[in-house]
Assembly symmetry: C2
Homo-oligomer: 241 residues x 2
């Protein structure tokens, strides 16, 4: 089995409640993804207004987290979910924490981009930051997609992309240091770029976490703290090739 | 009310289960704190062996997270906790995620310190990293203490220390850049120092998160996503001065 579905219950109302939570997680994810896209575009195309839009929409992400958390608490108290339902609720509780932090990082990137636009620093490293950003965005999109379809195989694939983001971060860091050495006047603007790359690397981490919760929900297996290779081995009997 | 207690139940067994979870969270926290202390000492006193000890004990932290998570799931399924109990379980589920990530960061610092010892880079910046490390360690200790006593006031105090850690990070980053500019041969070792400072800054973030869960558990108020000033205002009627 590579996909999981929310089980049907005798109580239609309960089904609706669970479905509603899932839908809201995806809506929250959609908003966070939009923030990432806008923050990156603000940076690479020097659009201060777009950056402002990202910063403005941050409270919306926070509100999603708090209210989905409340819904989960209510379901736990009233419906006493068991087995798969309980795993779904646990996966949701953990997923929204990571989504909210992705939103935080997108906000940081937006703030940084305003600063970078104002400082008129060198734009040559935007190319690598943009490609790292696209990689992170694809990971977030893939993680949400795996969550929507409760697809273990897709989740595993997305999770296996994470080490690439670490490597990209190190490469950008080295590149930025070269810029700093070439022209010390660019140091402040370049530090902003370091923070931006760091934010993107964290986003990729969060996307991987979400994938691990999907696997936990579908397979009932805790695959945190193991390498991608171990993860694949662990799931090899389950995933159909 | 500034402190919360786990309510007493008719079932002694249930009380024991909740108490057991709390104790294990504190044991996990103790282990993580020890890792931080050892990782910092390994760095500042060039003790490779001590760094190795930190790396070796990392799987223990992960095992704690997985097993406490399982215990929480079991309690949710079997005991159907309500009100304060449910908030405690939710706070635990979130706290252990942050504790595990503190352990991850300590492991990174340990790995970095081995690398830095081997590269024989400049040791002048160890002073500032050490003082940032002590600040982060005090925050972790304070957060765990607030958790142990379920003390809102203490949690608020620790959370308010977090912006200081951000400021320390920025200061260290500037210092490190100066070193890199002075002598390009030190760049690789200095990048390790950047990563170390970053790990410490993340640890302070996690400590603040734990404080927010303590407040959530005791007061039933979600204080995430608000500034320290707002937090204090929000709780002013509750906390006795």
């Amino acid at each position: 089995m590579t996909t999981g579905t929310v089980p049907q219950h005798i109580s239609k109302q309960y089904d609706n409640e669970l479905e509603n939570i899932r839908e809201r997680v995806l809506a929250m994810g959609g908003l966070v993804e939009e923030q990432m896209v806008n923050a990156l575009r603000a940076l690479t195309e020097s659009e201060v207004e777009l950056a402002g839009k990202v910063i403005e929409s941050e409270p919306k992400v926070n509100a999603y987290e708090v209210s989905i958390d409340e819904d989960c608490t209510t379901i736990l108290a009233r419906r006493q979910p068991a087995a798969g339902d309980l795993r779904l609720v646990m996966a949701v509780i953990k997923t929204i924490t990571d989504l909210e932090r992705i939103g935080d990082e997108a906000e940081k990137i937006a703030k940084m981009s305003i600063d970078m636009i104002e400082k008129h620093g060198p734009k040559t490293y935007y190319v690598s930051i943009n490609s790292m950003g696209n990689h992170a965005r694809r990971m977030v999109h893939g993680a949400l997609d795996a969550f929507a379809r409760m697809d273990t195989k897709a989740a595993l694939q997305v999770a296996s992309e994470e080490p690439k983001s670490d490597a990209m971060y190190v490469a950008i860091l080295r590149q930025l240091i070269t810029y700093m050495m070439e022209d010390p006047r660019n140091i402040t603007a370049t530090i902003d770029a370091v923070w931006t790359a760091r934010a993107l690397e964290r986003i990729a981490d969060h996307a991987r976490n979400i994938c691990e919760y999907v696997i936990y929900f579908v397979e009932g297996k805790d695959v945190r703290h193991i390498s991608i290779e171990q993860m694949e081995k662990e799931l090899s009997g389950i995933i159909d090739e």
